[in-house]
Symmetry: C2
Subunit: 216 residues, 2 copies
């Protein structure tokens, strides 16, 4: 069965986005700096339709590996609709992902608002799931086939899946940056401590890729 994995970029001080996210600045203030390691990569440029070229090497290999392994995506409604704000409750909001989103696989969005599936260009579809995190995971698994289901975020959704014991693998891309403020990935996790198995470390000057398995 397709495993549920998380691949996410985090500052050394634990943030996955800056403060004050808006539609115009979906990563929050300073949040772009978190993803600077991604922008020059060949696999990122290709995925986002930015034309050929770009850097290859260690970081690009890690991203390519992740993309190749992903058969479906699960994300929270705020990540779909462009950060927190009044529009997140608009059932017709089209998100900020454009006509050719970078996923290229079926995406399942956790929401309270039922609506029809939207088919985008390039193999991306947005399916809205109102039945909760297990229902979304079930649908994503069915769509992923032999590949993994990738949990895209945001932080609250990651924490929900972690607390439910449904997240099986985490790869945290730690950037050498103290962001100082923003959206904390693990904030308010609570509960009993969870021991992880550290399964791989890959380093580059721009980012350190730490991979963990959640023991059953």
């Amino acid at each position: 069965m397709a495993q549920l994995t998380l691949n996410i970029t985090m500052s050394l001080d634990g943030f996955i986005a800056g403060p004050n996210q808006t539609l115009d600045e979906p990563l929050g203030e300073g949040g772009e700096r978190l993803h600077e390691w991604l922008f020059p990569l060949a696999s990122f440029r290709e995925r986002h339709g930015l034309g050929g070229g770009g850097e290859t090497g260690t970081d690009d290999d890690v991203v390519k590996e992740n993309l190749a392994a992903t058969g479906a995506v699960v994300m929270g409604r705020r990540m779909f609709s462009g950060g927190a704000g009044p529009w997140e409750d608009d059932p017709n909001a089209d998100g900020w992902w454009g006509d050719d989103p970078p996923f290229h696989v079926p995406v399942f969005i956790l929401t309270n608002h039922a609506r029809k599936t939207v088919d985008k260009q390039g193999g991306t579809s947005f399916t809205f799931v109102t039945g909760g995190i297990e229902a979304a995971l079930d649908q994503a698994r069915a769509a992923a086939g032999d590949k993994d289901v990738s949990l895209a975020g945001g932080a609250e959704v990651v924490q929900e899946y972690l607390k439910a014991g449904l997240l099986e693998e985490l790869q945290i891309h730690v950037v050498p940056l103290l962001l100082g403020d923003g959206v904390s990935l693990f904030d308010s996790l609570g509960g009993d401590p969870v021991k992880l198995d550290a399964t791989r470390v890959i380093e580059s000057p721009a980012v350190t890729h730490l991979r963990f398995r959640v023991p059953r």
Copy 2:
């Protein structure tokens, strides 16, 4: 001049101690689990007077390197006097470090209560500095000679030195553990983002040692 360095163990979710620190449980609830990687090491056992033996190898080498480089220590008053609590304002509190503390170098404690230097066994002395973080660093540098000054914590003191631009190197020992709650190392850092230089990664199954320099 002696550089100011930080060597500290942190859970993947950013905690350096568990919640509810007391004199009996100075690392807080569950906080011992953070340091499990240290306890079996030969260098830790030797430093804490636990007799010979213990594990050698990657993690032990990292600890030995740090001990050999350290000529003096700076710590906050709560770390000296055993976590937050009423005793931290007791000018006669002797801390929870015992007669033969594990530092074996001069230790400078940030406090508001002037008192005489206490000489302990094994080369450790406790000097109480009421002049602020720069005064403590100056005194520690003078004592450290050619070696480094090691910032022992806690989190608030680390943040103060970071904000003042006085911390020059950080080595974070990231343990594969989601502690869920406790004392967050970088919580409330605020200010402008600080880009670090990632200078070294050393991994073992128990812990990943991430080293950074703070650019001037």
